[in-house]
Symmetry: D2
Subunit: 342 residues, 4 copies
């Protein structure tokens, strides 16, 4: 039974059906087709405001292209030190931007506290050494975070206000954005543009799509630069309809919420079963456990696949629930956890 | 009736079926799945030699990532001045490589003559000014070319020999590689590794896939650098099976050849109908015509969509046959051409 | 007797004296010293308008840093195909800008004709293919040109007007700017800001300095970006006074004009002696001759050092007069030329 | 009385004399002159081994160019978190390398402990996530460090051994290398190649030169790449003799040691006077004091210029002794410190 990651999952039937549904007729390429052209409207409705949305196929592309648009080569992008852009993208933000630097912040449960960010702005070397230092350019937030926790709208608003107050733009890595909305029972706008986010990587791949992420600009002024960077980076698809169609289906069929609610709920089941061992609050579809080496080995021996986490000797584990996770996997896991509990 | 480009086409049924066929089971992400792992073997069989093959989703990614692996930032990449990497990728090779420069060569029908390349190597500024100039690093060839012509194996071999003799690597943009093979009735190896090509962008998207190109390394030493660059550029897919599955189906079902033979044959029909107006020999699925302004307008008025080409006053046109082009489109086009012929 | 290049010359006594004159007292580093702070005012007086001027030490730095400020990574910079930034800087503009591309133009005597540039703007691929192409961003002009010719103010104005009309900025490579002013008997402003130039690389090294070039911004809005790029590229000097002092002396002592007048005059002597063999009008301190292979060999055998030029079989030669060229060198050269004349 | 930095100092008389001494005769440019050609031999004698040495004019250029030669764009360069390349070069290593990332290490007194580096290598994300992470490529050490302390040869050797054991190269930022040699009474080779350093930025500017740093390669294989990067970055001087002459004079007249011994000795005087307030051991020409806000203000009011250091509320200060620091400055400083001591 496999809890490695939500990107080990299949694509939803609705997604494959959407691909089939657009698979007729020769249409203009590179996004000049009815589906791609509908994307901004569709996501505008979703977010409750006018947006410019662009389809790409990987989260790294979505994050790095938007950061390159927000930061000059000599810019600093503030991010949590456990953010995906720092730990898992092979330095992509530096590549796309021409060398921008991530300024890493600590923060419990992979969330940046507004006070931490305020302090980091105040202490930033550029304040003292001026142009001898990289220059603060953007703040990157992950919602839901790498540790499965969720920023509350009020904290997001504070963070964005601090950023804007210093002339920084705010980018959000929303690879698991739907899980955050599902957890908060909020409107998608509440944790994006209403809180002050300028650009959002709106992920669909992990939550049921085949390969599709939308880059959503709430500030249209940035769009031209983005489009040129996307083309230049090989992330503009000639047969764009097939990426757009996934995103349209993802939003318009309610798939995004349905899947997120299901995986969140299953993760809660695991959280209850594993309660004393939780490393972080479980607010989405990820569960982090401090099992200890022995229990971790027993769990694995019982047939469960998951990633080790953290320092080797701590015996930590990450378990992620996928949209297509069988209910029985979770039942079995809970039972196994009950057996090995301290 | 639409002859704009082969990338305006749909995806083949075989491709969609392949997507459905792999859409079961949670598997390891980022290429560690049975389909992606089979890709190198599949393409090795296809080319008749050991290869390392990588799936990406756009031609720009395939070309630029491999050129970045072949050329240092201060390298010069020789290419035809009408090559796609020069005219249609928004400077992608410079972006991916950190600034490598295309050294553009002339050549009839978008083919580089071996003599032209030999002369360019001899005359290259680096010969005289040493490190004040960019340094020849690679030769990029397009097969089939941007003008729908095909390099013969002997010419390819001469070009590659010249390149290797000066320490340059050879990259091939094979966005329409299948059309070239179909035209030459040769083995795929004859116009790739046997001729001396080091890395090939093996295109499938234009010829029936949804979004899939293989980067095929005939020289395994270059692979590690490529893999890191691919990840860093956001071109490594988490759900890699869906890109790999397209390529497997494309090769293993014979789709590649079937489609190419069909589009080549239809283009030949058009070529015969338009014979006195041909700008270039028709050797694949593209037809370039010097219609003149008036005839071009009449053809368009008759309901045919195609791109204008060349200098505005020349009245040139490009017509491309897609794998899903109805036979009737071609019949209608031939009839229309007959009516407006000089 | 050596006519290889003006950068083979020594530094003027006035320059060394200037270094000695500022060599007292500990002062703030990185340009916060009285000499560096005076530079903008000094060059503002020189040009007859307000400027922001920055000292760097090489022409490549001056040109590439300013082009990086004018062009995004996906930008195209129009330049003559024999421009120094294309032929002799190892791709520096692409490095500094993150991949901007030079769009090369032909033009007699290394000058770009306004009509040529107008046509290039009209024909630029971006007009047809939009974001599939690099985007015109800047025009780079060389005054005096690589072939020793000088743009007239009216032509410069036309070129700049064309550029600005399309939203492009204009950079001028003025490595031999003084020679152009001396030739035209004009005001420095006439061939820079009054003609529409936005940023000028004002060269001093070739004309008597040790290592000093000023980057002169006539548009202050661009300055902040430039300053950060300069620092990041290692071209901000800690002991900035020694670069600034050279530039101040160069301008304030009249050195710039004195040296340029002398070398121009000596080159005229050579031009007269070599008249039937001149490849380009001699308008500065450079003389290009079509000697033929035999005469070239004889001239060299007579003890003259110079660079071969052009295609090997043409027997062309470039001779450059340096500020410290002994009068006798020129006399001897003229005599030798007289002996070998056709 | 000014203790801001050693780069606020003048150039030594020996340096200006050296400039004058080479200021005769037209010589080949770009380093093909007798002085530049002698540089490798001169520094080879100095280090007691064969080297390839290159003259540049700023420390940022020296460090970043060599790091770009050692690290691919997806490389990680380990460095102390207070290293100059991190804090004061506006992200230059990322610019020159095309995006390489600094992996920052803690360490008392700005020195990296071998254990810390060993642990960092073991814990590096690339060990677990493979190509999803940047790849360890180089270790950058600063000798003497940013906090005025000196690595002992044995520790350097351990650090280099760890680096080489993992396939990393070692770069040394030796902006104040002479001070380290003077402190250790060792041979220059002992803290460079004999310890395992592959490339050294051998600084002269801070210690008496006008603007000159040598990049010294102990591994000749890397040289070609470096030379092309240097040219491309505008750090190859046409009148190269004037940079080379500074370095030759710096080494051959013993200036390097004389100046370093003097500034080290004066700093020791200050260290004794300020003993209870020292933040770091004083092993070179820099003194870091925890004065507290009030005493710091009093010291400044007494006429001493220096930089504040560290967090604002801590009242820390950095004082640097320059080669041309009058003895009286130091006497006065010691007296003032005695008056305000706790």
């Amino acid at each position: 039974m496999q809890f490695l990651s939500d990107n080990t999952s299949t694509a939803c039937p609705e997604i494959l059906e959407a691909l089939a549904a657009v698979n007729h007729g020769r249409v203009h390429s590179y996004g000049d087709d009815e589906w791609t052209l509908r994307l901004s409207r569709c996501l505008g409705d979703y977010f409750g405001t006018e947006v410019r949305a662009f389809a790409v196929a990987t989260g790294t592309a979505a994050n790095s292209l938007s950061l390159a648009t927000l930061s000059p080569p000599y810019g600093a992008v503030f991010a949590h030190r456990d953010a995906h852009i720092e730990t898992d993208e092979c330095g992509a933000p530096a590549f796309f931007s021409g060398g921008a630097q991530l300024s890493l912040l600590a923060g419990e449960h992979a969330r940046i506290a507004p006070e931490t960010f305020a302090q980091a702005l105040e202490d930033h070397p550029s304040v003292n050494v001026g142009l001898h230092s990289v220059q603060p350019a953007a703040l990157s937030l992950t919602q839901m975070t790498e540790f499965g926790t969720v920023y509350r709208p009020a904290d997001l608003a504070k963070l964005c206000e601090l950023a804007h107050g210093r002339g920084l733009k705010v980018q959000m890595d929303g690879a698991r954005f739907a899980n955050a909305v599902a957890f908060l029972h909020c409107h998608p706008g509440d944790i994006s543009w209403r809180a002050g986010v300028d650009v959002l990587s709106f992920g669909a791949t992990k939550n049921g799509a085949l390969a599709a992420e939308a880059v959503v600009f709430f500030d249209a002024a940035l769009v031209r630069d983005f489009e040129l960077r996307r083309k230049r980076a090989g992330h503009l698809f000639s047969k764009s309809r097939y990426v757009a169609a996934q995103l349209l289906a993802y939003v318009e069929t309610g798939l995004w919420l349905r899947n997120a609610q299901r995986t969140n709920a299953l993760a809660q089941r695991i959280a209850q079963a594993a309660n004393p061992m939780l490393l972080h609050p479980v607010e989405g579809n990820e569960v982090f456990l401090r099992l200890g080496l022995e229990r971790r080995a027993r769990l694995r021996a019982a047939g469960f696949e998951f990633y080790d986490w953290g320092p080797p000797q701590h015996g930590e584990a990450r378990l992620v629930v996928s949209w297509d996770q069988p209910q029985e996997d979770v039942e079995a896991l809970c039972a196994a956890l009950a057996r090995i509990l301290p």
